[in-house]
Amino acid sequence: MGPAPAGEQLCGAIVEPEVMEPALEGTGKERKKASSRKRTLAEPPAKGLLQPVKLSRAELYKEPTNEELNHLRETEILFHSSLLRLQVEELLKEVRLSEKKKDRIDAFLREVNQRVVRVPSVPETELTDQAWLPAGVRVPLHQVPYAVKGCFRFLPPAQVTVVGSYLLGTCIRPDINVDVALTMPREILQDKDGLNQRYFRKRALYLAHLAHHLAQDPLFGSVCFSYTNGCHLKPSLLLRPRGKDERLVTVRLHPCPPPDFFRPCRLLPTKNNVRSAWYRGQSPAGDGSPEPPTPHYNTWVLQDTALESHLQLLSTMLGSAQGLKDGVALLKVWLRQRELDKGQGGFTGFLVSMLVVFLVSTRKIHTTMSGYQVLRSVLQFLATTDLTVNGISLCLSSDPSLPALADFHQAFSVVFLDSSGHLNLCADVTASTYHQVQYEARLSMTLLDSRADDGFHLLLMTPKPMIRAFDHVLHLHPLSRLQAACHRLKLWPELQDNGGDYVSAALGPLTTLLEQGLGTRLNLLAHSRPPVPEVSWAGSRVPRDTKDIQDPPKHKDSGTLTLGLLLRPEGLTSVLELGPEADQPEAAKFRQFWGFRSELRRFQDGAIREAVVWEAASMSQKRLIPHQVVTHLLALHTDIPETCVHYVGGPLDALIQGLKETSSTGEEALAVAVCCYDDLSRLLWGLEGLPLTVSAVQGAHPVLRYTEVFPPTPVRPASSFYEPLQERSSLLPRLDKPCPAYVEPMTVVCHLEGSGQWPQDAEAVQRVRAAFQLRLAELLTQQHGLQCRATATHTDVLKDGFVFRIRMAYQREPQILKEVQSPEGMISLRDTPASLHLERDTRQLPLLTSALHGLQQQHPAFSGVARLAKRWVRAQLLGEGFTDESLDLVAAALFLHPEPFTPPSSPQVGFLRFLYLVSTFDWKNNPLIVNLNNELTVEEQVEMRSGFLAARAQLPVMVIVTPQDRKHSVWTQDGPSAQILQQLVVLAAEALPMLEKQLMDPRGPGDIRTVFRPPLDIYDVLIRLSPRHIPRHRQAVDSPAASFCRGLLSQPGPSSLMPVLGYDPPQLYLRQLREAFGNLALFFYDQHGGEVIGVLWKPTSFQPQPFKASSTKGHMVMSRGEELVMVPNVEAILEDFAVLGEGLVQTVEARSERWTV
């Protein structure tokens, strides 16, 4: 018998820890057994693990060179720390274009240039007469209305210029784009081309002809159309090289008018250039009111005229300063990680470059600054300046003929003028996009100022996709509904301005409406930017089939509009929208805004006000009030029906809902239990007759810190279901009935006041404690009539249907257990397993419980997140490897250290971040610091991190540090093993993208439980259990349609006997299995109603071994050749599985033959 071929992840990991993923490699062996620690310490340093640095004395204290001193000084002045400097340099190396590639791109550009100027010309025709275009060539533009005056002819471009970031050296990988401006010869254009889209029609025709010719050239791998910044009137032509360089570069051709062709004064934001008579076929209202201005249309024309001047400006400002270029590159990475730069109306790299230029011109940035400093200054500027109120301008001249900033504010939501003073660079940026940028900048600034250890990583390396950044998201689908919304909102001038793009036209009013409606519930509303479509010119160079050529995309094709809501937890508690008093003039406005939901109400202070009341009873329903608000407002004001609004806020709630509850996620039930505990602790405080009074009562159970996955319900046992044991006033389970409901007593630690009377001997202290337990039970029964049962270590108390397990504690007991007397009589304290265990249970656990209880008061979503996380880990059958507390602490870390996000306000987003944290955290080289109550100072944290490296070999695989537990990581001492943790990492990495995809699917998330179902094919043996004896069967991920009666009454019954406590046959069975076969196999089970126990053989124990009296357990002796060897007696063991679990086990399925040779 031997190890299996390492196929599956987990099995492979167990065979040889060496072949594990590098993320955990090395520590696996050290962790597995304490005894092997010394051996591994002596081994050569494992790969991928940080070693404490050892420098010789001579190296440390040698004379510094000038260069070194300069470098050190520069680091100190220009960067935060040397680590940051190195990180920034590495990142820039990664995103910057290499010289070799630049050469190849340059060569390609030269080729493009040659080919473009050689495209043949076409004689002049009317614009509406497009018969000259070869068959199958479509104009990449919606020509609506079609009729337009003017003539077109094709002539090769007068000038071909490379513009944009490529020349500046600030373009970043991947997706290298090179923008090329093609100046159209003056002969093509006529006077008044700025009117009624004529210029854009010509531009599109120009490109269509160009594309037709270039597509036949073998040089290009793909030729397709795209749209500049998503503006659908402005197509551009994308060229990619053929062959292996296909992904190297995309050349974008932008036709532009000859310089000085358009008069800027015609294109001011107040002017109209799209006549209503032409666009709508009717004059505006007929009464001679002025034509509506078309600011966006004007801007799009102006943008084409300014391409070169912008390039010149940028190259003079940034050209020689490497620091500024680095800064721009970093800013681009920053934007991209936040998905801010992509799509229509994104905050593009070009905008940040111009912003850097602006800051240089206002002397906020100096050319000698480092990239990091530029990043900081720009973020600082963005964080503190609101361009939606106070626009900025690069224009220095004070020419009175220039338009005023106020004019621009009237027309655009964000204002940033270029050096000509006519063009608003941020014309397409919506107010919410800018607010999102501003919000991100503010967050990043606090992060940089907080001196967090890895600000770099959080700032520049952590992606913030919408679904993980926002508490709730909602999809509007299909988008064609927005057209009706535009009509409802009377947005005709905007449609005229946008050339019929109803998505852009409706976006602004829509977000304003929702922002106003959500009011105090909302922190930030962001919208996804419609992606820029790419219309393929078909893969083949000569389009043979007309089907290969696509029509220009319709507006409704731009997918879905996704809105992200960042909620404000304080605002979520109220179900009331308070309006003005009924007789105030604002009341009408309020009524108009809320429609039929607004009602008159009299309040306790006598005021009669307009108000809106939402239906929400529980915490989880209150969290979903924004859903009600959004659907109501959209239906009322924009005619978007509920069926088109797909609100993703609570699909995961179902997994932590109680058995029969559908309206609550259990926060209320937990609060009831905590309330009962508070009552009990008051009783304990006031108890009379104990020899020592109670000095402290502390909870030590997950229920008391709101993190129990399924909150307890009051027990009302039906007496017929049990065997009563009258002399102990307890109930016993009966053989002929299904297993009774599972009741877990909640542990409470009770400290007594100090006294010199305690014995100073461990055994005697135990006896005295037992006497206290007995006395406590007696007193509680006598004074308060509570049902109690005392044992040597605890007293169980039944109160209002909840069962508490009170443990008396004596403060000095751990110390007594620690005392060791040396031969000289010196008493010293040494940690022993017993003392550590006691300290953990009576000191650290209550502290943790109260700290997390406090956290729940601060962040109401904590409970949901922690419970979902635990639920998921257990559903993956890995629950046994992780203590309750360790998972709770990981969940707490999401709230206490949310950077680069903000603390989650919904369980959904918290759970996604939990998966992200688990799948990406480098446990091998970092401790997870959970700064409960903010007790750790920055210096202490730094010290912990450096101390961690030195002590790495002695620490568990997963290290979680809290202020109360700075060195030992008590909650992860006994597990998980490296293999189990690795398995969790792998599972989380698989689950995260799957779940995110489900949630981002506008047609609804589908089966949300998919990621909660464990893979079963990796196990060697499956033990199937009979649901009759699984007390928590109904809690299963896929809740069974029917299960057994568990002997509970819905009304309080007459029986006041102590219910059956902690009786869970699967757990008892697992304990036996682990004790008997723990050396041979691992057992996996989901305690929440799992029907299957997965068994994995340990391949190492299947190596034949020589006979040893101490390790015969479950083995048998076989003769192999001449020698006698021991191998596990697998067949007998498989039968033992059935014998030990008689009644519980249905079948034992041996699924693989891996244990045989």
């Binding site: 390396m461 055994e763 008493i827 083995h1115 076989m1118 697998v1130 014998v1139």
Partner: protein
């Protein structure tokens, strides 16, 4: 099940179950229904000369690999009673040499552990029992019609019922223990009082904490505290950066710190680069 196929012919060939030298193998099954057997490996208990053992030589059978369902001592003694009258059976987790069965531990304070595979010391009344046991052919059946052994649900329910302690018995046990303890402490104290201030044969007087003047407790923590206080007192008198060489040295120290930090950072970066952690997306 390849393993079974291979094992069968081997057994048939020489009709002897392979067993390690010095041991005899006895097949054991839970009941008739089971197909495969576990094997008890037994031998006469013996220790090297000179070492003491609490188990009587010659009359004791040492049993390895007792399966987890043989939890009760009775079941093993019943199985082996064919070989001779059994005097006692002791089940343990690990084979141990020196110690014997511990003094009966309180069932309230030391709950029975969950059993796994165990070893057993079976003491027969006569030495003949051991030799008979070594020749046993088996297979032994743990659970039979006449003596069923509880497992699974039956066992857990009865275990649950057993776990209900009798508070009166617990009280009695605590009281007797504490009485004995108090007596012991009183005796010790009386003895200490007697010795108080009385010099021993070399003339030394033992100072105890019950003396008239309080003394420093003899603990590690207390002595560390004293040392720390001394150190701080000395540090207060020292002058920092007073002499030129001190100044130079502290500067050098600062530089060394920076260098060390730099090296650490470089290592970190190297590691991250190796893991391709600088790919932003």
């Amino acid at each position: 099940m390849v393993a079974r196929r291979r094992k069968r012919p081997a057994r048939e060939r020489d009709d002897r179950i392979p067993s390690p030298p010095g041991y005899a193998a006895i097949p054991i099954k839970f009941s008739e229904k089971q197909q495969a057997c576990h094997y008890l490996y037994v031998r006469a208990h013996g220790v090297r000369q000179g070492t003491k053992s609490i188990w009587p030589q010659k009359r004791t059978l040492f049993v390895l690999n007792v399966p987890p369902y043989c939890t009760e001592q009775e079941s093993l003694s019943r199985l082996l009673s064919f070989c001779g009258l059994v005097q006692s059976v002791e089940l343990q987790e690990e084979p141990d040499l020196a110690e014997g069965p511990e003094e009966s531990r309180s069932k309230f304070f030391h709950p029975k552990p969950v059993p796994g595979f165990q070893v057993a010391y079976v003491v027969f009344q006569k030495p003949s029992g051991v030799s008979a046991a070594l020749a046993l052919k088996g297979p032994l059946l743990v659970s039979t019609e006449s003596h069923p052994v509880k497992t699974g649900i039956h066992k857990w329910i009865s275990d649950y019922a057993d776990s209900m302690p009798d508070p009166e018995a617990l009280r009695v046990e605590v009281d007797t223990f504490m009485e004995a303890y108090d007596q012991k402490i009183a005796e010790e104290e009386a003895k200490a009082k007697e010795e108080e201030g009385v010099p021993d044969e070399e003339g030394w007087v033992k100072v105890t904490r019950r003396g008239r003047r309080p003394v420093l407790p003899r603990t590690e923590a207390a002595s560390l505290r004293v040392l720390e206080r001394e150190r701080r007192k000395r540090a207060r008198k020292e002058l920092l950066n007073f002499y030129a060489w001190q100044h130079r040295e502290s500067k050098m120290e600062h530089l060394a710190q920076l260098r060390k930090k730099f090296e650490e950072d470089k290592q970190r970066i190297e590691l991250l680069r190796a893991q391709r952690k600088f790919r932003p997306y």
